[in-house]
């Protein structure tokens, strides 16, 4: 089994879109960081968008990766947007209170509400399950 992450950088005008895919941990974060920073220093965009919709796993190394990119893009006078974080990583993002420090956006306005409803439904289901079991 391999645990991989990769990224696709796409720069259009002042904006760089980086799509991160796969598992983000301390091991894979090194390549992701080098890939993003290399592209940032070369293209110097005004805005870095990290699309994290295809991230399947992330531990606190991913929080470090995001905060690190925020500090690099700020040094370059730009801003960071984290786009469409997957359900797999939204819990750790919330836990870290990252919504307060980072601009998190959803491209599909519907999606966020859908995710919330789904989470609520699951919580309710597990509560009911617990009752049945007792």
């Amino acid at each position: 089994m391999t645990h991989k992450a990769d990224l696709v950088c796409d720069t259009a005008g002042e904006q760089m879109l980086v799509r991160v895919r796969g598992e983000i941990d301390h091991h894979t974060a090194a390549d992701i960081r080098n890939g993003i920073d290399g592209a940032l220093f070369e293209k110097r965009p005004r805005r870095l968008i990290m699309d994290m919709s295809a991230v399947t796993f992330m531990d606190s190394s991913g929080l470090g990766l995001i905060m690190g990119r925020l500090s690099v893009i700020r040094q370059l006078g730009g801003e960071l947007v984290v786009q469409d974080p997957s359900e797999a990583i939204s819990r750790i993002i919330t836990l870290a209170g990252m919504e307060r420090a980072i601009d998190i956006r959803y491209t599909d306005g519907e999606r966020r509400t859908q995710q919330k409803t789904a989470a609520r439904r699951r919580r309710k289901a597990s509560r009911t399950e617990g009752k049945v079991a007792k």
Partner: protein, 156 residues
């Protein structure tokens, strides 16, 4: 942890696995998948498995990044499945140890800010499990014990 939870983690052992692997970063992924695949025999739900993977990843990464910061060595993992759907995961290194465990467990505390660490590892372990115990001695090593109680699933 509640006395009830303590009782459950002292229950009868159903199964156990021990894994010993070198403290190299490629093993972070290996370790969490191995643990997850062993725990799968209790048929946890996806959320529970994701929590366990994340907590294990934190503890194993700490052995590599901090424990063996200035050395190399092995990481010892023992996963025990107990009666009552309780899972106990012990992760141990023979690294440098932690001088002040209480301080280390605080959110945002890190001794490695240059390495883009977030200082959130222990907080993640605590939030994603039902109990975290840390034993550490400078110059000897660190043991982290993660306790997780799986929900009872309704029979089909």
């Amino acid at each position: 942890m509640s006395p009830r939870a303590k009782g459950i983690f002292g229950g009868e052992v159903l199964n156990r696995i021990q894994i010993k692997l070198p403290a190299i970063s490629v093993n972070e992924g290996m370790a969490r998948s191995a643990v997850a695949s062993f725990v799968s025999q209790l048929d946890p739900d996806v959320g529970e498995l994701a929590d366990i993977k994340c907590a294990v990843s934190e503890a194993v990464t700490n052995c590599i990044v901090h424990g063996y910061r200035a050395s190399t060595g092995l990481i010892y993992i023992t996963v025990t499945l107990l009666e009552g759907r309780a899972v106990k995961i012990e992760i141990r290194d023979r690294g440098c140890g932690i001088p002040d465990v209480r301080a280390a467990r605080q959110p945002l505390f890190t001794t490695d800010a240059d390495g883009e660490r977030s200082g959130m590892g222990f907080t993640v372990m605590e939030s994603f499990t039902d109990g975290v115990r840390v034993r550490s001695k400078v110059g000897v090593g660190t043991t982290v014990v993660l306790l997780k109680r799986l929900a009872t699933r309704a029979p089909l």
